[in-house]
C-alpha cells in the first residue's frame, strides 16, 4: 500500500513536470506547426543556470533570475533561428530547431567541461516528508498544485485576454489574423516566452529530484514531454497536460516494477497504440494543412 502510494505520488509529480514542458511543445506547434526540438535543451539550460546562479546568489534571487533568463533564451532562439525562416518550408525550420538543440548541448558541454553539475538543494521543496506512510519530497506534492495553478492561469490568458485571442487567431489563420491588425511576430514571441517560462518552472521542480545535471539532461525529459504532447493531441493544451500525467504515471508504475529497464520502450509503445487508434491524439483536432 505504501509502495503503491509512493509510486502514485511520484507519477503525478513526474507527470506535472512533463506537463510544464509539454505545454511549450504544444503551444509552439499550435501556432507555427513546428516541433521545437530545442525546447528540451532550454529546459536543461534553465537547470544549469540554476546551478551557476545559486553559486553566487541566494535562492530567492536565483530562481526568479533563472526564470527571466530562460524566457529570454526562448525569445532569442525564436528571433534568431526561426523568425528568419518564416517564409521557408517547414522542414527548414525544423532543421534549424535541431541545430539549436545541438548548439545548446554543445555549449553546455563546453561550459561544464562535460562534468555533472550538482543541482542545488532548495530547502522548501527538497525536504522529505511522509504521506500516508510513504516518504516523499515536498516537491512531489507541490508540483501538481503548481501545475494546476499555472494551467488555470494559462487558460485564463488564452481565453480571456486580448493577447490570448490574438494567439488563437494566429494559430488558426496567419493571414486573416494579420488583417485584424495582429502582429504575428509579437504573438509568436509571446508563445515562446510563455513556453520557456513554464519549462523554467518545470526545470526547477524536475531537477530537484536529481543529484546532478549534465548537458544531455534535457533530451529524455524533453522527448517524453513531446510524446505526452503528441499523445494528448499536439496543439491542444489540455491534451498536453492530460498526456503528460498519463506518461508520468505509467513511467512511474513501470519503474516500480521488475520491468523498469523498459520504461521508455513502454512509453513509446503506448504512443504508437494511441496513434493507431486515434491518429490525432486524445484531444487533437483534425488539422488540415494551411494552404
Amino acid at each position: 500500500m505504501q509502495y503503491a502510494i509512493s509510486i502514485l505520488l511520484s507519477g503525478v509529480s513526474l507527470g506535472g513536470q512533463y506537463a510544464l514542458i509539454a505545454i511549450g511543445y504544444t503551444m509552439v506547434y499550435g501556432i507555427l506547426r513546428l516541433i521545437n526540438f530545442a525546447h528540451g535543451d532550454v529546459f536543461m539550460v534553465a537547470g544549469l543556470m540554476m546551478v551557476y546562479l545559486t553559486a553566487s546568489l541566494p535562492l530567492a534571487a536565483a530562481i526568479p533570475l533563472v526564470l527571466v533568463l530562460t524566457v529570454l533564451l526562448g525569445f532569442v532562439i525564436e528571433r534568431a533561428a526561426y523568425k528568419p525562416l518564416r517564409e521557408a518550408p517547414r522542414m527548414s525550420v525544423m532543421i534549424s530547431a535541431i541545430g539549436v538543440s545541438y548548439l545548446l548541448q554543445n555549449l553546455a558541454t563546453y561550459i561544464t567541461g562535460g562534468l555533472p553539475q550538482m543541482y542545488p538543494e532548495i530547502p522548501g521543496i527538497s525536504k522529505t516528508i511522509t504521506i500516508a506512510g510513504a516518504p516523499t519530497k515536498v516537491v512531489t506534492v507541490v508540483t501538481p498544485v503548481l501545475v494546476l495553478v499555472l494551467v488555470l492561469a494559462l487558460t485564463q490568458l488564452i481565453h480571456h485576454t486580448k493577447v490570448g485571442m490574438a494567439m488563437r487567431a494566429v494559430a488558426k489563420d496567419f493571414e486573416t489574423a494579420q488583417l485584424m491588425g495582429i502582429r504575428i511576430n509579437a504573438v509568436i514571441s509571446v508563445t515562446f516566452v510563455v513556453g520557456s517560462f513554464l519549462a523554467g518552472v518545470g526545470s526547477v521542480l524536475y531537477f530537484t529530484n536529481y543529484q546532478s545535471i549534465v548537458p544531455l539532461s534535457g533530451s529524455l525529459p524533453g522527448l517524453r514531454a513531446f510524446v505526452a504532447a503528441v499523445f494528448g493531441g499536439i496543439g491542444s493544451i489540455p491534451g498536453a497536460v492530460v498526456g503528460a500525467f498519463i506518461i508520468g504515471l505509467s513511467e512511474s508504475i513501470i519503474k516500480g516494477s521488475n520491468w523498469s529497464i523498459f520504461s521508455d520502450a513502454f512509453t513509446f509503445a503506448l504512443l504508437i497504440i494511441i496513434l493507431v487508434v486515434k491518429p490525432t491524439g486524445l484531444f487533437g483536432e483534425k488539422v488540415t494543412d494551411k494552404v
Partner: protein
C-alpha cells in the same frame, strides 16, 4: 482617397499586376471586375500589405502605404473582408467581431459598434454565442463584413462577397454594402458577379491579366458592348 499608380506585383516569376493605376474617391463605391486570375485579389492584398509590390505607389490620403506593415495599414482605416470569408471558425460570432476591433482601444466605441453591426445584420445578433464555424455561408459572409467594419474603416474592401451564396443572400449582402456606403464608408469591391457590382458602383475598372483595360461609371460599363459580352454573358 486611395490612389494607386503604376502598381506592379509579381510572385514566383509571374507578373500578377503589370502596372495598374486606379483611384478610389472618398465616399464612393468602386468596383474592380475581371475574370479569375486577372489580379483582382492581388490588388486588394497588396493594398493591405499582405503582398509586397515590386514597384509603383499606393497613396492613402496622400500617405504612401507601400513598405508599411499590415497593422499600420489596417490602423490607418483600411479593412478587408477576405475572399472565402475566413471567419475564425472556433470563435463565437461575438469574439469574431471583437477581434475585428483588435487595434482599437476605445471600449465604449467598440460596444457601440457591435450594436451597430448587429443592427445591420440582425441574424448575427441572434447567433451571438454560436461558433462562427456553425453558421451558414451567407451568415459567415455577414460576419466577415461585420468583422471588417469593427475596425471602423474609412475604406472597406470586399473580396468576392457573393461567392457561393444563394441569389437572395447576395441581394441582402449588396444592399448592406450600399447601406454601409451611405453611412460614409468608402467601398472598394471586387466581384465576379459583374452585373451586381456594376449596378451598385459609382466607378468601375475592368482588370484583364494584370492590366486595367477599361474604366468608367458603373452605368457606362454596364452598357458597354465589350463588357456585356465578356462579363455579363450577353452576346450582342
Amino acid at each position: 482617397m486611395l490612389k494607386i499608380e503604376n502598381l506592379q506585383v509579381s510572385y514566383g516569376g509571374i507578373q500578377a499586376l503589370r502596372g495598374i493605376s486606379l483611384e478610389v474617391p472618398d465616399g464612393k463605391i468602386v468596383t474592380l471586375i475581371g475574370a479569375n486570375g486577372a489580379g483582382k485579389s492581388t490588388t486588394l492584398r497588396t493594398i493591405t500589405g499582405l503582398v509586397k509590390a515590386s514597384s509603383g505607389s499606393i497613396q492613402w490620403n496622400g500617405e504612401e502605404l507601400l513598405g508599411k506593415s499590415i497593422d499600420k495599414i489596417i490602423g490607418a482605416g483600411i479593412a478587408l473582408s477576405p475572399e472565402g470569408r475566413r471567419v475564425f471558425a472556433d470563435m463565437s460570432v461575438l469574439e469574431n467581431l471583437r477581434i475585428g476591433a483588435y487595434l482599437r482601444k476605445d471600449k465604449e466605441g467598440i460596444e457601440e459598434d457591435i450594436r451597430w453591426v448587429y443592427s445591420l445584420f440582425p441574424r448575427l445578433e441572434e447567433r451571438s454565442w454560436q461558433l462562427a464555424g456553425t453558421l451558414s455561408g451567407g451568415e459567415q459572409q455577414m460576419l466577415a463584413v461585420g468583422r471588417a467594419l469593427m475596425s471602423r474603416p474609412k475604406l472597406m474592401m470586399l473580396d468576392e462577397p457573393s461567392l457561393g451564396l444563394a441569389p437572395l443572400v447576395v441581394q441582402d449582402i449588396f444592399s448592406i454594402i450600399g447601406e454601409i456606403n451611405k453611412q460614409g464608408v468608402t467601398v472598394l469591391l471586387i466581384e465576379q458577379n459583374a452585373n451586381m457590382a456594376l449596378k451598385i458602383a459609382d466607378l468601375a475598372y475592368v482588370l484583364e491579366t494584370g492590366n486595367i483595360t477599361m474604366s468608367g461609371t458603373g452605368a457606362e460599363l454596364l452598357a458597354d458592348e465589350r463588357v456585356r459580352e465578356a462579363y455579363l454573358g450577353k452576346n450582342g
